[in-house]
Symmetry: D2
Subunit: 175 residues, 4 copies
């Protein structure tokens, strides 16, 4: 976990703005740390989600209004994270968002967490679009019917108006 010295000739090369669809700042608070004195690894998923949410919001996508309208929502289908170096209390981090693939029903991201020019965590997150299986009033009528209730979402094609606002994916090959 040694930190390579950074020569003045190449400052912050990896965080070159055009390579990312979005960058999001995160400060590390007590809530994020664990008794090892570092950020609890599970919390990087939260940091990455915050960055995707702000990016979607900046694109004009209102997750909560679509969810409450019963139109559907993105849920996380797969995550792969490599924890390279630890972050600590008070650290100021940058979480990056890159869309690497857009499919009919899912979107794949490459995400990273940086402290200045040090890469701390690398991740791949795939999210899938789901729709409610039944109208909500139906689920109310069948309350207590666990079997029907437990699968109230199903994978679905991403609505065209969402696809329309998504950017062109950037190949993950250089990641």
């Amino acid at each position: 976990m040694s930190v390579s010295p950074v020569s003045p000739a190449s400052p912050e090369v990896p965080v070159e703005p055009r390579r990312y669809h979005h960058r999001y700042p995160v400060r590390v608070y007590w809530e994020d740390t664990d008794a090892g004195g570092i950020v609890f690894y599970g919390n990087y998923l939260k940091f990455m989600e915050r960055a995707r949410t702000e990016w979607l919001s900046a694109l004009g996508f209102g997750q909560e209004s679509m969810r409450r309208a019963g139109e559907g929502m993105f849920i996380v289908a797969e995550t792969t994270l490599r924890y390279l170096k630890p972050a600590r209390l008070d650290d100021q981090l940058t979480v990056t968002v890159v869309v690497t693939e857009i499919g009919r029903a899912s979107v794949t991201f490459a995400q990273e967490v940086w402290r200045a020019d040090t890469l701390l965590t690398q991740g791949m997150v795939r999210i899938g679009w789901v729709q409610p299986v039944t109208p909500r009033d139906a689920s109310v009528a069948q309350a207590g019917d666990e079997a029907s209730g437990e699968d109230s979402f199903r994978p679905a094609r991403i609505p065209a108006r969402i696809l329309a606002i998504l950017p062109t994916p950037i190949s993950a090959s250089k990641g």
Copy 2:
């Protein structure tokens, strides 16, 4: 924060079984701790909620089925916690539940977190019963109407069949 030696003559006096409506064991995991090396104070609210949930479940109360049936649910209205001594990774704790007051719309608890015979945290938690304001299909129809959506619950009287299963409160005067 010194620990007084416990004489053999008074082992675990404070955790006398009959004083509690419920006792619930909690092990401290990495997720519960912070960089101070101790349990993050906010997590005691989680420990206390787990204990109340198991107690309600043992009484035959199904929170999730009532919620999904639109009949209502308990939400937390007020919490007061005093953090006396810290818990640490791997500690085996006991969370206690005492009902101290039952009102028309709310139930008040005294809760404690113990490590063996050492009291770590003392709390008061008041929960209130709420019901959906409107049928869910109505909220779907009005999606995007934030004003209507944001208050979709309202305080209500606790249903008689729930009151029927609650135990007689124990005075908090000695707490």
Copy 3:
């Protein structure tokens, strides 16, 4: 939980800037919510802590450097919260910080969480200053000695250089 209509004549009166020592914005993400569709009540403690941390940081107080130097740290000693109205996914909240009392060993805050001009949560948080009981190398030498290890902090007077940067308390009488 009804929302009173807000007349145009009194916009945001309660969030008048001079009444607060600090104001901090919080966006509600998925991680903050629970199956009731609202922010999990325990998470307001996190929001309030983030606001206090940013306020301390703005005052020039470095929590992590003092902690790692073994000089001491603030730990939360008491919290009282009233949950008035729920916050929801995507909500943009403002968390306020008011110092209401400064003692020899503790600082008391009144904190609130607002969504625009709607007060959602009111809280009192008291933090106490603690110092390591023993040098860290001593604790290493005694590893496995649970009795000595478990109380490695003790309450202490707040260092003068911290007191020097704290603002004059604002009376909580109108809170």
Copy 4:
């Protein structure tokens, strides 16, 4: 996300005891869920960690005492999770632990989360052993020296006495 009917002839076949090194029960509480009405995906990492911790503890491995003695600790180096079906409030889950590979400095696990005979989440978790780089008093002396402080752990060989208690790995090929 449909659930296949389970014939009485094949009850819980996938959770056959001998295939796992450990099985750990988890109840879903409010704290675990999000506004989608399901368990927040990031929390499966917590469930899996709890299961590994109880398994290590059952083997006689005291994480906290080794950490506090400065001997070292396991940190999570990599996680891959596939979220197949959602878990909900009040669900009773089983988290399984299988050691699939033991290297000099890391241990790899296959972990699953089940609700009865329904597989909800599949994961791979790799943990690495790390040791403090410097004695703790040295880190105190250099407080404020961020460059030295930030890498206070380094990867190391797993101590022989820990290797001695680990079980024979089970091939992940059928996972």
